[in-house]
């Protein structure tokens, strides 16, 4: 279960030689190395808190946010700018570019293009940067909640 990439570990009182383990600020199994006390089995809610604080999860979350926050900011401001420009600067939007195609038409089609590009970039980013660690975390978390439930009952 315990891996070197900082995923949360299942066995309550086991010995941890995982360098990332200190990052887990959970209240149970904090043994500091050697003689782990026989901690009370945690409730399911604590498992999620523990996973949330684990380095692996924080990595997944920050990768998600580092992509999504700027991307949302970019496309929303580009879209709002487009809408506001269409209402407040019709003169600018009506300026011809090539033939009958004017700035407004280019901007509108540009919205389509950026949407397609951002979709592609997001899917690629999620596939390469998030999916694998998220899936590992999923199994680990489910294992932990299963152990917890078993311990309580």
């Amino acid at each position: 279960m315990c891996s070197s990439d900082g995923r949360p570990c299942a066995a309550g009182g086991a010995r941890y030689d995982d360098p990332w383990y200190d990052a887990l600020a959970s209240g149970w199994g904090e043994s500091g190395g050697t003689d782990a006390p026989e901690a009370d089995p945690p409730v399911a809610g604590d498992v999620y808190l523990e996973v949330q604080r684990s380095a692996a999860f924080r990595e997944v979350r920050s990768r998600y946010r580092r992509f999504v926050v700027p991307a949302v900011a970019v496309f929303l401001s580009w879209y709002v700018a487009y809408v506001v420009a269409a209402t407040t600067a019709p003169g600018l939007m009506a300026r011809p570019v090539v033939g009958a195609v004017n700035v407004a038409m280019v901007a509108g089609l540009g919205q389509f293009l950026t949407t397609f590009l951002l979709t592609w970039a997001y899917a690629r980013h999620a596939r390469l940067r998030r999916d694998r660690s998220a899936l590992e975390l999923r199994w680990d978390t489910q294992e932990l909640t299963r152990v917890t439930r078993g311990g309580v009952s």
């Binding site: 808190l49 991307a71 209402t87």
Partner: protein, 530 residues
């Protein structure tokens, strides 16, 4: 129109109905009647299937008929709908699809109720979901009415009413017998038909202009009588500042509303994983983007080939521009080609309306049974009886939509959809985003966010020129118009967000850190997802 058009269109439409009814019977043959099966089709669709189904749910008659009609009448200003309808999918893809798939089971309320007190939250989100769905349904019903009026030459009010009733009855049959599985397959069939029809028409328009998009635009501008102004913003939403703010309001509602539409959210639960949900959205964005690009060509094509005057003469709101365009592209009213193409387009539009209506009815019946009924009834209903309630709810919603659809007959359908989007963005999006991303969010915040968006949105629509006080409104005879904008989004969307924030700040409830951790971990990893 002539008898030929009617007969052929009705025949083609009859074939579609027969096929879809066969699908409904076929997929419900091994039905176990579980909630999983009824609301989510067993969660076993592939991303491609679901992508087509999402596109089918989204590309409504409002887009096919309404948006092209608006472009044909007002030129560039109609294009805003196309752009907004597509860009909205980035909100869905980035912030909603995967996370909702991971956290929820069937409805929006599942996601919110998981970390807050269940009963008030479910009642609030259930109410807003049903409201949005009914508004959206009305738009589709109006589209059906416009199409029938065109088919029958606008001479038979009774026939128009009976068609709306027939569409309503059919959708109730699909939904209550087939559940999500049948609805999804109907969406897929419809999606393929609609895209096929749109591609064919677009190709014909471009062929007519020898592939010269520039000349298409120039001809459209010339024929419209507005010249270059037809190709620039401002024809519909220019002029005074009220109209401009209306445009901005609509733009906001379009881009933020999609992520709050119950029938779109429920589609993410038909695939097994968040990854599959993401891939379905990517499919959907490709299909929807292509479709809206083509509606632009069709809209300007209708302006250039049919002419805005003829479009307006047939239906004042422009809803019949595409069928008229098809008639002309096929060779005119007297030719076989024109008859066939017109009938084909009319049948596709019917199929579109029917499928979208089925999708929305299913989603709203899920909200009624899974959220409202399950919460308002003290004793938890068993899953089997919940499905029974959902089937009854489908009938009730069908009746309501038919009644409102008959009432709102003369409004542009794209515009009506704009209203539904505004309500969705005001009532559903704030609560969804807050519960996914805000650690300190509380139950009171959730309830306030929903009602704080829903009530202003609905009240502002009631007080707007849509309902009263102008010649085009629903009740032209009376005047209780106090709000100048047609679309309430600009005011009600911020109100929804502010209300949720205020409710959270003022509530005594201590935010449950563990529940938030659970939501966050589950939403990003899929742990414990069903």
């Amino acid at each position: 129109m002539t008898e030929d058009h009617q007969a052929l269109a009705l025949l083609l439409f009859g074939v579609f109905v027969a096929i879809t009814l066969a699908i409904t019977t076929w997929v419900s043959r091994n039905r176990r009647g579980s909630a999983e099966e009824f609301y989510a089709g067993g969660r076993l669709f592939t991303p491609m299937e679901n992508g087509f189904a999402i596109a089918g749910d989204y590309m409504s008659a409002a887009s096919f008929l309404g948006v092209s009609g608006l472009i044909a009448l007002f030129g560039y200003d109609g294009m805003l709908y196309s752009v907004g309808f597509l860009v909205a999918w980035l909100v869905v893809l980035f912030l909603v699809a995967e996370l909702v798939r991971n956290c929820g089971r069937f409805t929006l309320a599942d996601v919110v109720a998981a970390r807050l007190r269940e009963r008030p939250v479910r009642i609030a989100t259930g109410t807003s979901s049903v409201t949005v769905s009914v508004l959206y349904l009305v738009a589709q019903m109006v589209g059906a009415g416009a199409l029938v009026a065109l088919l029958l030459g606008g001479r038979s009010e009774a026939a128009q009413a009976w068609t709306v009733i027939g569409v309503g009855a059919l959708m109730v049959i699909y939904v209550s017998l087939g559940g999500m599985r049948a609805t999804t397959w109907i969406q897929i069939v419809k999606s393929v038909l609609l895209l096929g029809g749109t591609v064919a028409l677009t190709a014909l328009v471009l062929l007519r202009f020898h592939g010269d998009f520039d000349r298409l635009l120039l001809t459209a501008a010339e024929r419209s009588g507005h010249g270059d102004a037809f190709l620039a913003p401002g024809l519909k939403y220019g002029g005074d500042w009220t109209a401009r703010f209306d445009f901005i309001s609509l733009g906001l509602a379009l881009v933020l509303g999609t992520a709050g539409l119950p029938h779109i959210l429920s589609r993410f639960f038909t695939v097994p994983t968040a990854r599959a949900a993401r891939r379905s959205v990517v499919w959907a964005i490709g299909l929807i983007g292509g479709f809206y690009l083509m509606t632009i060509v069709l809209g300007f094509g209708a302006a250039a080939i049919v002419g805005p005057e003829a479009v307006r003469g047939s239906n004042a709101a422009g809803n019949t521009a595409v069928p008229l365009l098809a008639l002309d592209l096929g060779g005119g009213a007297a030719s076989t080609g024109g008859t066939v193409l017109f009938a084909l387009v009319a049948a596709i539009a019917f199929a579109t309306i029917l499928a979208v209506v089925a999708g929305i009815t299913l989603a709203s019946s899920a909200s009624v049974a899974h959220d409202l009924y399950a919460s308002l009834r003290r004793r938890r209903a068993e899953p089997r009886s919940e499905v029974a309630v959902a089937r009854v709810a489908a009938v009730g919603i069908g009746v309501l939509a038919i009644a409102l659809g008959l009432l709102a007959r003369d409004l542009n359908v794209a515009f009506l959809v704009g209203l539904a989007f505004a309500v969705a963005a005001s009532a559903n999006l704030p609560v969804l985003l807050y519960s996914l991303f805000w650690r300190d969010f509380t139950t009171r915040g959730a309830v306030w966010a929903v009602y704080g968006g829903l009530v202003p949105a609905v009240v502002l629509v009631l007080l707007s020129p849509v309902v009263s006080g102008s010649p085009d409104s629903l009740f032209p005879g009376v005047d209780f118009q106090y709000f100048p904008l047609q679309n309430p989004g600009l005011v009600s969307i911020p109100l929804g967000f502010v209300a949720g924030w205020l409710g959270t700040l003022t509530s005594a409830e201590v935010p449950d850190e563990a529940k938030h951790a659970e939501t966050e971990v589950r939403s990003l990893t899929g742990a414990g997802a069903v």
